[in-house]
Symmetry: C2
Subunit: 569 residues, 2 copies
């Protein structure tokens, strides 16, 4: 997909220094935005003093190390790097002015601006006279050499602010030999010592390919990645979380908590809440741990147990019926955006539909349905009529069914209605059911970063600066020990190749950083699984309330992270 | 409509005293909820010292005073009451234990629990040994004598918390002679000295009818109303705002601000945001003043200018085209929930459709369309197909078209798409358009009340206690001078009859408190109107961020209120 930024050329005017609150309507920033701009950002203590880099043992790969070694001959096996305090001021760091580029890649996540602030401040503090270029509109900006020189005045208004509009992002990839050549040309033209790629799993894979390419072509430009995605599916032992996940989940949890209070007060609605996160269900799981809904569907569990849509519907309806026995005709249900992608039978149906729609006449009488397999026909007939129509009518430009357009929460409401009506006929249910659908998505991607994301991102950026300054390449900035106070956070870099496996595509091995899915044996899911039956029937709702920047709760970190770090064990 | 509460009998367990934060998952309350429970509530200084009540001049009615006088022979003409400091301790207030009832009526609004806390604390402070009964599930609780005695322990966990679940609400009205008799019986059975009705325009009308009824039957029970509705359409000179409006608007504005940052960062979406508020567009206007969207539709203006749906679409599309010339293919558009109710031609079409659907056969061939008037046929053909189908297929149990189910934001996206495609063909537009729809509704009704709503509600309740203690009836609790510090707020009561007019229904005059609509000559609309052209083309977005309870912005009051009070003049 072409980058929106390059596509429309509509470059947002840079945010100007915020005007103070005299004359409310002339103010560019709200009071809260204003107060956040000036908020000092704490650094881990290792970044506040002279440090040196200590390399760990030689690394391998997440899978198929032989293939990864072939794909990354210069980088494979690189050790992880840890920053440690050094008595020797600026030990081992060259006294050099650096030229560094930074790029935002893919969807937005709260905190991106702070990564850039962190890189900038590192250069100011440790490599005075350095230059930071921001590539505009994502990787396309690298290929087309579209950039802005980032100065203190330019960056300042974006500190602790949401969004990616400082330099905008894009979804292009640097893939073809021609594109790699363009990237090389830009690196040489700008005389870049380093490049920081802020992105998700794909973008960090791309960052590593770029690092390998630059190294193999004897360019001096080094490449460091930073883990970004609200979905929370880019993480490993060394990279405990991706930035943006904390803020997005807290924004969604605020809304879910409000809707729970609404449900309990009104006593007559089942709120079906679909949450962003197409590939993995981390957001849904985290929101469940924060708010204690009656029902939570986790895609990874649906897939592992090979559940059908009927199974999922029955689970929901069983809980609704049990609650009706206690006269609770209300509740809150969380659904991950990608739910139907986790259900194999739905995938089969869609594949068959695409085939039929491409090659056959769809007759009014429904004779075309005979071309479906038995299983798919059964599923198709089970779907609500509106969804059937949506599947048949709305296609993408290639004629394919648009799965992403299916409003899963509305579909489940309709299926629950049908099943409840059936049970009512059978005398097994005598409650009242009214479904309300919600989708919480875009409003979570660009919120003001929480204290956690603001601080974490600043450290990620500052650390990325340190890694580049130390001559490192092909690493992902890694800040860990996150359940401890900020001063005690560890800072370093992890070999991107160590996170990789290969996938076979078009007969070739492609390197991939596998998405971190919800682990059914992991602490967050197990905690959830041990409590969900209680949450289903009792109303243990918790309303996290709006994100606070000072006072109680303002420095809390996500439950997922806490549990994964064993802090709650 | 029967009250949900009475309907399902599902009484939520009372919130228990919040457990402290040791053991996060055992905590009933979040950190923020916990911190809010203990937050002290400031009182206007007149409520902190001995006071006396000063009556104003005889009042009249908002319209048709002669009819109002006939409908309220005992109450019409009552003066407004103002609390003023008195040297004489408890001047004129009887040394008496009171029995007071309180009821929540209609939809939820943040702050309701604080009104109840205010009444309770008044009784504790000034009429020790009094009893407060909470009627359960709205007015039905009065009629059926379903109540709970509210104690300090019972109330405490609800302080500063959202929702209405302390005693729940309902939408019944006390209307028939039989129902008034039931209310009398309850009042007598509980030996009530007073009743506080917390509700919107209808509920306060009902409160006044009840006050008149009790007075005319020589019951001692007095009735005081409190202005509640997130829609902001219950207000007058003496009642500057209804509670809940402030919190709801700030929750929506947080989300709108986030979506704006998303729009600017991505550069490729037009976000169409529908906001709660069916009758009046105050919420949409306030959110516009807080966030500066590119396009804002105000229902009252649409009605005043007799705009058609085509006019509204053209206005939106004109702005989109102008923005495309500047390469801005993104934006944010606010739409009030009740928009189509403001468009006369839509009302005509729906009336005609209801008639046709009830009496005629709707043939596939479309011959039935000949029964539509020319204007309605033109409008029907102008509507997107999905909306046409929705109008024809989805009917309520009476067979009527369900206007409330039309997702106006999706309809406008489809109409904009069609019009933009047309202009593209004509060479008048060369941008890219992708609409994203949002509805911000339920998540705003039950949020944690802002500092303003928390304090305002507490004063409303405390003041209601004072009015009842002073022997007043048929007044609405009125707290004013709200742009001043809390200490300087004025407290009193306004004759409910003075807010009333009559409407002719079924050949009879019915008293009504007219909904306060957005005044096109009022300061908030004029401010908006003077800025919207700039907002349309420049991106003057403001992101209010999450509601803060301490620090900058935490004590801000709504722009609407500030402007109406002339504080910004």
């Amino acid at each position: 997909m072409a980058p929106s930024f390059a596509q429309n050329g509509g470059i947002p005017a840079p945010r100007t220094a915020p005007i103070s609150t005299t004359g409310r309507f002339a103010t560019v920033y709200s009071d809260v935005q204003n107060s956040r701009v000036d908020q000092p950002l704490p650094l881990p203590s290792v970044l506040k003093k002279p440090f040196t880099i200590v390399d760990g043992p030689k690394s391998s790969a997440s899978g198929n190390p032989d293939e990864i070694a072939k794909l990354f001959p210069h980088l494979f096996g690189q050790p992880s790097a840890a920053l440690v305090p050094s008595d020797d001021s600026n030990a081992a760091l060259p006294d050099q002015k650096l030229k560094i580029g930074v790029v935002l890649s893919g969807g937005q996540a709260p905190g991106g601006h702070n990564v850039i602030s962190g890189i900038f401040d590192y250069l100011q503090d440790r490599a005075k006279g350095s230059t930071l270029y921001g590539f505009r509109g994502g990787p396309a900006g690298i290929m087309k050499n579209k950039y802005v020189e980032l100065t203190s005045d330019y960056i300042y208004p974006y500190r602790n602010q949401g969004g990616f509009d400082m330099i905008c992002s894009g979804r292009d990839k640097i893939e073809t030999p021609e594109q790699f050549k363009q990237a090389q040309e830009t690196a040489q033209k700008l005389d870049l010592d380093g490049l920081v790629v802020i992105g998700g799993d794909d973008s960090n894979t791309n960052a590593c390919l770029l690092a390998e390419n630059f190294r193999s072509n004897n360019l001096k430009t080094r490449v460091i990645g930073c883990p970004k995605t609200i979905d929370g599916d880019l993480k490993s032992k060394e990279v405990p979380t991706s930035f943006g996940f904390d803020t997005a989940c807290k924004i969604y949890a605020e809304m879910i908590g409000n809707v729970m209070v609404d449900a309990r007060s009104t006593g007559k609605y089942y709120h079906f809440v679909r949450l962003m996160g197409r590939a993995a269900s981390h957001i849904t799981l985290e929101c469940a741990l924060q708010t204690h809904p009656n029902i939570t569907i986790i895609g990874e569990e649906v897939a592992a147990k090979k559940l059908t849509l009927k199974n999922v519907t029955d689970y929901i309806v069983d809980v609704i019926c049990k609650r009706a026995e206690d006269k609770f005709n209300y509740g809150v249900i969380l659904i991950p955006e990608g739910l139907i992608d986790f259900i194999p039978e739905v995938q089969h149906l869609i594949a068959e539909l695409n085939e039929i729609l491409a090659n056959d006449v769809v007759d009014e009488g429904g004779l075309w349905k005979k071309k479906l397999t038995d299983q798919s026909l059964k599923l198709f007939d089970f779907l609500p009529q509106a969804i059937q129509e949506q599947l048949m009518l709305e296609r993408d430009p290639h004629g394919n069914v648009q799965v992403a357009k299916i409003e899963t929460e509305k579909m489940l409401i309709q299926m629950a209605e049908t099943e409840l009506e059936k049970r009512k006929q059978e005398g097994k249910y005598n409650g009242e059911f009214k479904g309300q659908s919600h989708f919480f998505g875009y409003e979570g991607r660009c919120g003001l970063p929480t204290n956690f994301d603001a601080t974490y991102c600043y450290a990620l950026g500052y650390g990325a600066g340190a890694l580049l300054h130390s001559g490192k390449t092909g690493l992902i900035s890694s800040v860990a020990n996150l359940s401890a106070p900020v001063e005690e956070w560890s800072v370093g870099g992890t070999a991107l190749t160590s996170l990789m496996d290969v996938e076979r595509r078009h007969g070739k091995f492609k390197p991939v950083i596998k998405k971190a899915m919800v682990e059914l044996e992991g602490a967050p899911f197990k905690k959830f699984a041990s409590l969900r039956d209680e949450w289903a029937l009792k109303n243990s709702y918790i309303s996290p309330g709006p994100i606070q920047f000072t006072g109680p709760g303002s420095d809390a970190i996500s439950h997922t992270l806490l549990l994964e770090l064993g802090a709650q064990a």
